[in-house]
């Protein structure tokens, strides 16, 4: 069964450094998402991406965050200047369509900011 894959599984970064989290969505999917889960808290939406542009973003997704689909397969989340509070599990998801279609998730990247 096709899967969403995320790399790396664990990223440790010094505060203030830039970090790029990578995702390969399911190949025929058109909608892409990033979510995060801070330890002990709920899963939170960050951003959705369709047709090479952001379709929606949450308040969390401020100017320090950006997403890109640099080629036909990868979908990346960049955090420009990381803060301690960015430490979380980051999940990438993709969907065949928007609307009433499920989103399929990768196994996540654990981001630890020191």
């Amino acid at each position: 069964e096709p899967e969403v894959t995320q790399t790396p599984s664990h990223q440790v970064t010094q505060m203030g450094q830039e970090v790029i989290l990578r995702c390969v969505p399911i190949s025929n999917h058109l909608y892409f998402y990033w979510y995060r889960q801070i330890l002990g808290q709920k899963v939170e939406f960050l951003v959705s991406f369709y047709n090479n542009e952001i379709s929606e973003k949450s308040e969390i997704f401020d100017d320090q965050f950006s997403v890109e689909r640099p080629d036909g397969s990868n979908f990346t989340l960049k955090i420009r200047s990381t803060k301690l509070e960015d430490s979380a599990m980051y999940f990438c998801a993709s969907g065949l369509q928007g609307g009433n279609q499920p989103q399929h998730f990768g196994d996540g990247t654990r981001l630890s900011i020191l």
């Binding site: 979510y35 709920k42 929606e56 949450s58 009433n100 996540g108």
Partner: protein, 113 residues
């Protein structure tokens, strides 16, 4: 933000019996609901969904019931199996406006042998 609530942090069920996981919501603009299962160190895995125009959806051992008037949905697993032990998340989508999912806090289901 308590738009989607899963009030039971954990639930223990005997193998072979029915597991019932509950979810309440407050936003009447939700029109699509999903259940995900999550094992440790893995991402959420989609289980089953239901549109707000339905009150029941069934897929094998999994059935989701939606009571719109009560703003309540439930996931039934029958019969429960050891591999069902996981954290179950309820998620909801707001009608038309966007595709983001609003998540509950999850319920840890433990299936006892």
């Amino acid at each position: 933000d308590q738009q989607v609530k899963q009030n039971s942090p954990s639930l223990s069920v005997q193998e072979g019996r029915i597991s019932i996981l509950n979810c309440d919501y407050t936003n009447s603009m939700f029109d699509y609901f999903l259940w995900y299962k999550k094992y440790p160190a893995e991402g959420p895995t989609f289980l089953i969904s239901i549109s707000s125009i339905k009150d029941k959806n069934e897929d094998g051992r999994f059935t989701v019931f939606l009571n719109k008037s009560a703003k309540h949905l439930s996931l039934h697993i029958v019969p429960s199996q050891p591999g069902d032990s996981a954290v179950y998340f309820c998620a909801a989508r707001i009608q038309d406006s966007n595709y983001q999912l609003i998540w509950g806090a999850g319920t840890k289901l433990i299936i006892k042998p």
